[in-house]
């Protein structure tokens, strides 16, 4: 077997393979998926000379460890964490050479939730519908990493521009999400809209790749009853019967039957990937 592969030594709480996601299949019920923090994923890819949307590992809170068969250049970014190679400290946020047979350990996130690990050549798991992303909602793409699993690596692109360091926006203490009301804000009382856009919410521990759940004041409905299922977008703020807003993230269902009170600005969604449970959330209305 080729030495362009790595074995999973410690899978961590939830480590998945992610790339740019699966676009164009929402009408068949297939979520987009892809890296929850696409900026971080693109940055680590740049550091190893990959295209920004090459497949990387996305860890959740406690990192992971892998043993590379051959020598490979890697970069760890996203949520800051300790990085070691065969037990020796290595740099976070820049490219690192991992010798053949050495163990790359990605430690627990010091701040934020999700660290990203890029390998020169990218993770070459079998693509499904044009993407190597793990989709936890519908079970498409490679299964979440498990100890002992071996994943192949692609061929590093030749002549790719090489970066030593890239800017990383850091993890905010407060998650500020600009929202545009609608399409179903008229299903809520005026008071509910005032509550949403003025009161403090917190990130709930039950958040996952499907949605960022919040704790805080419940939003009161003006229209009772059920909304017929309709298409959902990334960043949709859906309000289930308990009245607590849920921000739809990459693995969100493609259609849903709870009203969407507002939609988070596209550029603000990635920050939600790094907000630990308990982080204050504010929804700022924009036009």
């Amino acid at each position: 077997m080729t030495d362009r592969a790595f074995a999973v030594v410690r899978a961590g709480a939830l480590t998945t393979v992610q790339d740019g996601g699966r676009c164009g299949y929402a009408h068949l019920g297939v979520p987009r998926s892809g890296a929850l923090d696409p900026h971080a994923a693109a940055l680590v890819n740049r550091l190893v000379g990959n295209r920004g949307d090459a497949a990387v590992l996305e860890t959740t809170l406690d990192g992971c460890a892998v043993r590379s068969r051959g020598a490979v250049t890697v970069a760890v970014g996203g949520a800051p964490c300790a990085v070691t190679v065969d037990g020796r400290p290595a740099a976070w946020g820049t490219s690192v050479r991992v010798p053949a047979g050495a163990v790359l350990e990605v430690g627990a996130a010091v701040r934020g939730v999700r660290s990203y690990v890029a390998f020169a050549g990218g993770v070459a798991a079998e693509p499904v519908l044009g993407s190597r992303s793990t989709d936890l909602l519908s079970g498409l793409g490679p299964a979440p990493l498990a100890d002992g699993v071996v994943l192949p690596l692609g061929i590093p692109p030749a002549g790719a521009p090489h970066y030593d360091a890239v800017p990383w926006p850091g993890v905010p203490r407060e998650l500020v999400l600009r929202v545009r009301l609608g399409p179903r804000h008229d299903w809520f009382t005026g008071e509910a809209l005032r509550v949403l856009t003025t009161r403090a919410y917190r990130v709930s521990a039950s958040s996952n790749r499907i949605g960022l759940r919040t704790e805080g004041p419940a939003l009161e409905r003006a229209v009772p009853g059920e909304l017929p299922s309709e298409g959902m977008v990334l960043g949709a703020v859906q309000v289930p019967p308990d009245g607590r807003p849920v921000v739809f993230l990459a693995d969100h269902p493609t259609t849903g039957g709870y009203p969407v009170v507002a939609v988070v600005h596209e550029r603000d969604v990635a920050a939600a990937a790094q907000a630990v449970p308990g982080t204050p959330v504010r929804f700022i209305p924009t036009r």
């Binding site: 676009c23 164009g24 299949y25 929402a26 009408h27 068949l28 019920g29 297939v30 499904v128 519908l129 519908s138 079970g139 498409l140 545009r180 609608g182 399409p183 017929p228 299922s229 309709e230 298409g231 959902m232 977008v233 960043g235 949709a236 269902p253 493609t254 259609t255 849903g256 969407v260 939609v263 988070v264 600005h265 596209e266």
Partner: protein, 208 residues
Amino acid sequence: MRALAVGGRALLLEFGGGDEAQAFHAELLRRRAAGALPAVREIVPAARTVLLDGVEEPGRLAEDVAGWEVPPLHARVEPAVEVPVRYDGPDLAEVAALWGVAPDEVGRIHAGVEYRVAFCGFAPGFGYLTGLPERYGVPRRATPRTAVPAGSVALAGPYTGVYPRSSPGGWQLIGTTDVTLWDPAREPAALLSPGARVRFVPVVREGA
């Protein structure tokens, strides 16, 4: 039709009913195929809406579509997808009671109708099929099952559906099929896509 803004990059087109939404969806696909639609990442039909996601200028597109003349839905020329079914579901008796018919009538009634995939969702390849007359609508089960087997043919509200894989679900199960609804390695991956015509063909159980 109403066009509702969904964030800054999407539009939700809302119609008076499902037929109108399906007709508009068909028109959108026709225009996209003809290169007469601005770039759109996703076109997602649903119960009475069509979502257009990943649109550069949603306001402009909203103005444009408001002026469209959309022909009523007509049957597709391609043949209906045939789904062989054993009418042996655990909720057959309950559905028969709700319909006020004998249990062995359920399959005859269900298979006597031509369906159309109104939209997909819930799971990859799960189609919401319309066509069953209104009087045969049934409520969802009060307590959803934690695991519905793949291939289960089911009813809920005005819809018929087939579970592509084992999953929790609250639909009433009336039968089983062996066809593969969803296979990402197949082209196309989904047996049932929005707009497709569908027929259920009863098969007799071995030994029956």
